[in-house]
């Protein structure tokens, strides 16, 4: 399914031309999802933090303000977009190209996969001189995407849905879909606390994700950041 295009600079007549190959990796719906999702995560983290630790109190009549109401509304609206986006992302994993499926599974029984993970760990510990190049996520990134993003996204949707169901009430569709998961936590205080912890895990994921994307764009001689904009992964030293 990967469309390939040879792009060379030879036609320009320069002495230092390197043939650069690019592969179409991320299709348009997936890229759109990525950036909408990224925006949702920022909004959700900021508003979620403020729900747990509200801004300073305001005086006057209650009817003059709606600060927590607005913060909660933005959080819930972003949560709906995040959740529906996740469903759309699952749909795209089914109908999209092979790279769209990568974050939903770990090739647990593949020996070469774990060899690749070990190599990547070596690369990040400065033990390996040369990075390997991959069309999709590298094996370590693949692992991180699965556990820190996909699993956490499901966890946040389930815990968040269960908390939302506390407001919509017993018997609401949110309660029927998510309520059983919330009940596993016993005291709802635990549910709130673990949802809050989940936010921090995702913050940590974002820190690593952004750092590694920029670093590998520079260090491993393949495009990363622009790939999520154009969809094309360019191999800067030519062949794969």
């Amino acid at each position: 399914m990967t469309s390939q295009a040879e792009t060379t600079a030879e036609g320009l007549g320069s002495a230092h031309t390197i043939p650069r190959r690019s592969v179409y990796v991320y299709e348009a719906p997936l890229r759109l999802w990525h950036w909408v999702n990224a925006a949702c995560i920022v909004v959700l983290a900021v508003t979620g933090y403020l729900i747990a630790s509200p801004p300073p109190s305001v005086m006057g009549q209650a009817s003059d303000h709606f600060i927590m109401g607005d913060i909660r509304f933005v959080h819930f609206a972003a949560a709906y977009i995040f959740g529906i986006g996740f469903l759309g992302r699952i749909y795209w994993a089914i109908v999209g190209n092979e790279h769209a499926r990568q974050i939903f599974y770990v090739p647990f029984w593949s020996r070469s996969y774990w060899g690749g993970v070990a190599h990547e760990i070596g690369w990040y510990l400065f033990l390996k001189k040369k990075p390997r190049v991959y069309v999709g996520h590298n094996p370590l990134a693949h692992l991180a995407m699965f556990f820190l993003y996909t699993v956490m996204a499901v966890f946040m949707i389930m815990t968040g849905g269960a908390m939302y169901a506390e407001g919509t009430g017993l018997g609401s569709w949110q309660d029927r879909v998510f309520g059983w998961f919330g009940a596993l936590f016993g005291n709802p205080q635990n549910l709130h606390t673990w949802h809050h912890m989940g936010m921090w895990v995702i913050v940590i994921f974002v820190i690593i994700h952004v750092y590694v994307a920029i670093r590998e764009d520079i260090m491993s001689r393949q495009s990363m950041v622009s790939t999520m904009i154009s969809g094309e992964r360019m191999f800067k030293d030519g062949g794969q």
Binding site: S57, P188, W200
Partner: protein
């Protein structure tokens, strides 16, 4: 052959209560349980035809606050419940008999009404040292509880002790106190948590059981939906201040005098299912938030082990470290952020050296 039992109605009339008062009582009870007007007639019919249900009320590890609450019920009056609605055959705290006479009542009811009595449990059994931390009538409470529960029709778990474990089950729980559903497995259990539960909630649950002969609709944690399906926060009269962003920041500040939301003072209303904000206490006079104090979340599992009552973000103990989500998550994020900066610096140095080497090679 058991002798024919008196119905509720027989007992009520024998006490000289008029039919008019009886009907008023039925309507009031229906209203207090949130049932429609037609249910008053059903309650009246049930009371006229059904025999009084014997109730055995047992006390394990507890502080008797459930009984203290129960005897203050206003709708219905606890006098009506005990003297008219149920036949409270055994309650070692409230009954006139004591010692061997009291235990004889327990035995007699168990034998006579096998499979037809209600068991109400206040407190819970400790399991450590074969149950030696709670002895009633010379026997470990856990043994008596198992025996009496075996012949019961249904079991009521009064309060947070019987429902969740409460203070005696708080870390490190030296007596290994457990909620009663860890000991009784084969009987329908209804949990009425709270430390103590609201008096009217207790009497209404009993009224429902004796009127309809079945448990009320229960939620996932086996609590009656009619009293435990909403959080304190959902019906709190200070909710408007929460939505507005008006919070008490410290005791006795202007916001506290204005009666603003106690969320920042650690109120557990948003995570506590109970009827305090609607039924209230002491015949509807007040409830903790109304008197200016945050909800402690006493009707919820494990509320003693959630750190300070006055913190909104409560502590968790992953891997033996204790801290709030913000402390643990914040330090972890800062650690990862620091590691990223260090890693980026090393990467940059390595890369600079490598390009120096490359330049030298080219020269």
């Amino acid at each position: 052959m058991p002798e024919p039992q008196e119905t509720f109605y027989d007992v009520i009339r024998r006490q000289g209560i008029t039919r008019r008062s009886f009907m008023k009582f039925c309507s009031l009870t229906a209203a207090s349980m949130g049932l429609g007007p037609t249910f008053a007639a059903r309650i009246a019919h049930a009371m006229e035809t059904k025999p009084r249900i014997p109730v055995l009320w047992m006390h394990g590890l507890e502080c008797t606050c459930c009984s203290e609450s129960f005897i203050r019920s206003a709708h219905p009056l606890v006098k009506d419940v005990i003297l008219s609605m149920i036949s409270l055959d055994y309650d070692d705290t409230l009954m006139a008999a004591a010692g061997h006479q009291a235990e004889a009542c327990l035995e007699e009811t168990r034998r006579k009404y096998k499979g037809h009595y209600l068991l109400a449990v206040e407190g819970n059994p400790p399991l450590n040292e074969d149950g030696m931390y709670c002895i009633t009538a010379g026997k470990p409470f856990v043994n008596t509880l198992r025996e009496v529960a075996a012949d019961a029709q249904a079991v009521i778990a009064w309060g947070t002790c019987a429902s969740w474990g409460c203070v005696q089950a708080a870390r490190p729980n030296p007596t290994q106190a457990v909620p009663i559903d860890k000991v009784i497995f084969d009987k329908p259990i209804v949990k009425v948590p709270g430390c103590p539960p609201i008096a009217e909630v207790m009497t209404a649950v009993i009224t429902y059981l004796v009127t309809f002969g079945e448990l009320p609709a229960l939620d996932r944690q086996r609590r009656p939906k009619m009293f435990y399906s909403q959080r304190i926060h959902d019906k709190c009269y200070r909710r408007a201040h929460f939505d507005a962003g008006q919070f008490v920041e410290s005791w006795d500040d202007e916001a506290a005098r204005e009666g603003f939301c106690l969320y920042k003072m650690g109120c557990k209303g948003p995570t506590t299912y109970n009827a305090c904000s609607t039924v209230r206490w002491n015949n509807g006079v007040s409830y903790p938030i109304q008197s200016g104090h945050p909800c402690l979340g006493c009707a919820e599992d494990d509320f003693w082990d959630k750190g300070s009552f006055y913190d909104r973000l409560t502590t968790i103990q992953p891997l033996g470290i204790e801290g709030t989500a913000n402390e643990i998550g914040g330090y972890a994020a800062a650690g990862v952020g620091g590691a990223v900066v260090a890693h980026a610096a090393i990467s940059a140095i390595k890369r600079a050296r490598k390009s120096d080497d490359d330049d030298r090679k080219q020269d």
